[in-house]
Structures are given as C-alpha cells and as structure tokens.
C-alpha cells in the first residue's frame, strides 16, 4: 500500500516535470513577452533592457532551471498585464473556480446518478427514455451554445437569474465564497448547470451501463435467490457496486471540469482561473499561462493520486494487494 502510493507519487512528479517542460517551452517561444510589457512606441534599446531584466537573454536551459526552481516554490513571476505576482492572482481566483467546479460536480453526480439508476431500473418507461434523450442532447450541444442559450432565456428574456459574475461574495479568511449570499447562489446556478451538464450526461450513461452490468452479475442473482427485497438488491448491493467505478470516473472528471470551466467562465464572466487563463492567452501573459497549466496539471495529478488511493479504500479487494492493474 505504501509502496504503491510512493510509486504513484513518483510517477506524479514525473508527470509534473514533463508538463513543466511543455509549459516552459511552449510559452517561452510563443510570442515575444517583451512586446506585452512595453508600449508600442518604446525604443529598441529599452526593449533590450527589459529583455535582459527578465532574463530572456540567458541560455534556454538556464531559463528553464530558473523557471522550475521558482515554480516549485509557487513563484510564477509577475503577470505582465496586472503587475502582480501570478501566484497571488491565481490564489485569488482559485476559490471561484473551485466553488464552481465543485457545485457543477455535485450537480452532475446527484442528477447523473439518480437519472442513471432510474433509467437502468426502469429501462422502458417514458421518463427513462426522456433521460436518455436529455443525455444525448447534453452530449450533442457544445457547452458555449448551452451557456448562451441559458443566458438568453433566463437572464435576458425571463430576468430570473444574473447573466454574469459571482454576485456578492463573503470573505472567509483568504477564501471568498458566493455560497452564503442569495445573489451569490443565484449567480452560481446557470454556470454550474452549464459546466455540469456534460459530466451529468457522462455519469448518467456510465451509471446506467454499470448498473445494467452489475444487475447481471452472479452476486446479484444470488442476492435475489436469497430472497432479499428488490430495494435492498438495487440500492444496497447493485448501487454500491455501480458507484465504485463511477466515483473513480467522476473523480477523474473533476480535472476535466476545472479545465472545461475555461469555456463556462468565459461565457458567464465567472471570475475564476479559467477566465484569467483566457485573458492571459489573449494578452500573451506568459507567466499566467504557464502557471495555470502547471496548477491545473497539479490538480489533475493530485486528483489522480487521491482517486487511486481512494479506490483501494472503497474496494476491499484492492486493500491488501499491491494495486489495481492498469
């Protein structure tokens, strides 16, 4: 168990290193950072001075090592556009993205599992077919289009929900939350649904497929032969076994949710990391882009690790053995 965890951790560090190289090389060579710092009419000599002060004239390996050393200490430099440390900016935006991603995931899990279980147990009912239809539409419509349609319907036409932003936020230490105010909660509804819809669809389909498969297993047949109630079989045995792989996938999907928030945050002007990233891409704000990539990778890798470990906790079969085969 410990060896397994350690091996996974080492692999995670390897992944981070690879991502670091990609991030560094990609953003080091995409566009000229100096252009972003100085105004258009700055003379060439001053441009050179800026280049030097940023260390952009050092050999590339030196730049890379310096970059990596700083990144390991969560020092990502200063944003070219905001003239603030990137880590502070990211930290400021992190709560918004995490709150959105968590709410979207909760929405996706709750609705997805309920709908999936229902459509597995009552395969031929009208409602199950409706769920199937909804899930197909959820998979077939691009996120940005759903967001725009929701805004058009609920914000502009009906005027029920705000079209952008987080509403009023409350500070809890360094964390800001929109979950404690009415306007914050209202502002959360549409972005969370938009972001969670795709995951909900995935989870619903996964739950349905897994559940159908579990219902065909021998232990379910045996549970029926033991005379257990349908309820106990469906919600005690089948659901628990269904949820093991579902939770894994949902956990891994959390990374996607965070990355997909790039689109949702852009549409809803949600002040999170994704929006910061998009703005950084538009403004070639290299430190932010690189930091975002590393940060998101770190979240992914951490989730991966946690899910791996969690998996062994949830599934007793894996507890005593070394790990699941990949």
């Amino acid at each position: 168990m410990l060896a397994f965890t350690l091996r996974r951790a080492v692999q995670a560090i390897g992944v981070m290193f690879a991502v670091g190289i990609i991030a560094f090389s990609m953003f080091r060579f995409a566009g000229d950072p100096v252009n972003q710092i100085v105004s258009l009419d700055t003379p060439a000599a001053e441009r050179e001075a800026v280049r030097k002060s940023l260390g952009l004239d050092d050999p590339v390996p030196v730049q890379f090592i310096r970059y990596f050393g700083d990144a390991a200490q969560f020092k990502f430099g200063v944003s070219y556009q905001f003239r603030q440390p990137v880590s502070a900016l990211l930290m400021e935006r992190l709560p918004a993205t995490l709150e959105l991603a968590i709410c979207a995931t909760v929405f996706a899990m709750v609705c997805g599992i309920l709908m999936g279980v229902y459509s597995a147990l009552r395969r031929d009912t009208l409602l199950a077919k409706l769920f199937q239809a909804v899930s197909l539409i959820g998979i077939s419509l691009p996120t940005f289009l759903i967001g725009i349609l929701l805004i058009y319907l609920f914000a502009v036409t009906l005027g029920w929900l705000p079209s952008f932003g987080r509403g009023e936020v409350v500070k809890l230490g360094w964390w800001t939350t929109g979950l404690l105010t009415v306007s914050g909660l209202k502002a959360l509804i549409m972005p969370a649904i938009t972001l969670g819809l795709f995951q909900m669809t995935l989870i619903m389909r996964l739950v349905r497929a897994e559940m159908l498969e579990v219902l065909r297993t021998d232990y379910i047949r045996f549970a029926r032969a033991r005379g257990l109630t349908t309820r106990a079989i469906h919600f005690g045995h089948a659901l628990k076994n269904t949820l093991v792989p579902v939770i894994t996938v949902a956990g891994l999907q959390f990374g996607s949710v965070i990355a997909f928030s790039i689109i949702t945050e852009t549409v809803f002007q949600w002040p999170g990391m994704g929006l910061l990233f998009v703005q950084a891409v538009q403004n070639v704000d290299i430190p932010i882009m690189a930091a975002y990539l590393l940060m998101v990778s770190l979240i992914f890798v951490t989730i991966n690790l946690v899910v791996d470990i969690l998996y062994t906790v949830v599934d007793p079969r894996l507890r005593s053995t070394v790990g699941r085969a990949t």
């Binding site: 419509l141 691009p142 790039i262 689109i263 852009t266 998101v296 992914f300």
Partner: protein
C-alpha cells in the same frame, strides 16, 4: 471527455472476445441488422448521418456559391433573412450572413470541414491508439507501463486542453506560416492526440488475451512472426469496440473542433467550419439575425445527435450482454 469513452472501451475490452471470426462477417451478422431494423430511431439517425455525409461530399454541386471563395461573396447580399420570411431573397434558402455568405452553402462546406477534421482526427487517433495498444500489449513490461501511464495521465487531461496545447505549440513553431491547410492538420493532430487512449486500451486488452493463446506459440514455432499473426487475430476481435469508440469519438471530435473555434483557435473565418459559423453567428443572436447561428447550430446538433445515436446503437448491438 475522453474518460467515459475509455471506460466504455474498458468495458468493451472486458467482453468475451469470440473466436477469431472476422469482424466483417460478425458485423453483417443478422443479429446486428435485426436490431438495426428494430429501432426506428437508429434508422432515422443513420439516414440523417448518411444525408449529412452526402451533403458534405457533394457540397460543391449543391451549394449556390462557394463560401470559401471571397470573389463569390457580395457584401450587398449580406444579412438577408431566410427565403420564407418577408425579406427573404432567392437563391438564399437559409439567408446570408454578415459577409453575404449563403448560410445553406456555408453549412454544406462547413460540414465538409467539420466531418473531414472529425474523420481524419478519429482515424489518426485510431492508428495511433491501435499502434500503441499493440506495442503495449505485445511487449508488456516497462514499455507497457510507460504507455499505459501516459494513457492514464492523458485521460485526466480533457481534449480541449490538449488541443489548446497542441495549437499553442504549432503556433509557436509554425508562427506566421500557419495557413488554413496547416491549421487543418493541427486540428486533426490535436484531436488525434486527445482521443487515442480508448483505442489503445481496447487493443491492449485484446492483445493480452490473445498473447497467451496456444496459436501464438504455435505460430512462433513454425517460424511465423507472432506480431503479424496476432494482428490478424486481435484486430478483428477488437474491431467492434473500436468501431463504437470511433463513432462516439467522431461526435466528440466535431464538438471539440467547434469549441476550439469558439475559443478562436480553429480555422480562419474565411474557411468556416460548423463551429466557426456558430461562433460568428452567435454574435448576431441579440441582433435578431437568428438564422446565422440557428441553422448551423441545428445542423451541428443534428449531426452529432445522429452520430451519437448510431454509436449508442452500435454499442448495444455489438455487446450481447446488453441485449
């Protein structure tokens, strides 16, 4: 995005693989056709998908103009509403956009690009995934764990982020030489790199099953190259699941292309795909020029919906346990 596909693939790979019957004969097996005929929805979906493919292939014969040729666009014809509305004008069936581009023609040509990018991306992903899956399964050991670890990591990175990365790298490498053609290639590569894992896992699973079978040893004994033999046995077995993954991936690839266009890293506006058309048209929604976004949107949703329906049906039809 790719996770569910992969987990589908996992499930697929867990299926008992039948003896090495050719995939083709199995696909043509009357069971599959029976379930096809039984489901009206699937038939409709297949008809729509086929129709879209045909429309895309024969776009140049069906369109009233070539929307990619600026000389054929008349600014004076811009923003005409669809034919059946009060301000409609022939021959612009579905109206025109800001540049005087006929929306119907643009949809046909755009669909051609979306489908081309999707199909090419899926093929690229398939070749890459099948190749890596074969290698991982055949060699096992360190090679296997390296490839599968990459696959694991890859799975957590959503396609859109990978595509953005590939695009970014391409932009910095190609810089200003990035024209429409190379952009197409970049899109195909981005999509290919995002979706290979499903195939790799499926094929690897099949190889693992086949590797230990006697015929491989026997083939080796009589001097036949084992990889070749296995290829001949593994691929037909894995073809069903691969086809399912490919179908679902095609839909995802088209959405990914559209999303990349939304984020402004797709094809240039002078060569709009369906996604680009929607991004552009979306700007005119509040202005009441709904047809610029609505028809491409309906076409895209209809296309993806049909492909997804086909994929669902195919998955159920090829998976005897689900029947």
């Amino acid at each position: 995005m790719s996770d569910a596909v992969a987990s589908n693939a996992d499930k697929q790979s867990k299926l008992p693989t039948h003896a090495a019957r050719s995939w083709f004969s199995r696909a043509l097996d009357s069971d599959v056709f029976y379930s096809f005929r039984r489901s009206k929805l699937t038939m409709v979906a297949a008809a729509i998908t086929l129709l879209f493919f045909l429309l895309a292939i024969f776009a140049s014969w069906l369109a009233v103009q070539n929307p990619f040729d600026p000389a054929q666009l008349q600014l004076i014809n811009s923003r005409i509403s669809p034919l059946w509305t009060a301000d409609g004008q022939s021959p612009f069936l579905l109206g025109t956009d800001e540049q005087g581009r006929d929306v119907f023609s643009a949809i046909l040509y755009g669909m051609r690009i979306s489908l081309a990018v999707g199909v090419a991306g899926v093929i690229f992903a398939g070749v890459l995934g099948i190749g890596l899956g074969l290698i991982a399964g055949y060699f096992g050991g360190a090679v296997d764990s390296v490839i599968m670890r990459i696959a694991d990591v890859q799975l957590t990175f959503p396609a859109i982020l990978i595509a953005l990365l590939v695009n970014g790298v391409a932009k910095s490498v190609l810089g200003n030489r990035l024209d429409a053609t190379s952009m197409l290639v970049v899109l195909v590569i981005s999509i290919g790199l995002s979706f290979w894992v499903g195939y790799a896992r499926t094929v690897r699973g099949s190889v693992m099953v086949e590797k230990n079978k006697d015929y491989v040893a026997a083939a080796q004994l009589i001097g036949l190259p084992a990889p070749k033999i296995m290829l001949r046995h593994v691929l037909p077995n894995a073809m069903g699941p691969i086809l399912v993954i490919a179908t679902i991936n095609l839909a995802l690839a088209i959405i990914t292309e559209a999303t990349l266009s939304f984020l402004g890293v797709g094809l240039p506006d002078t060569m709009p795909s369906l996604g680009t058309l929607i991004r552009i048209g979306n700007n005119y929604l509040f202005a009441g020029e709904w047809w610029i976004v609505a028809f491409p949107g309906i076409a895209l949703a209809g296309l993806i919906l049909s492909i997804n329906l086909l994929g669902d049906w195919l998955r159920d039809a090829l998976n005897p346990k689900l029947r």
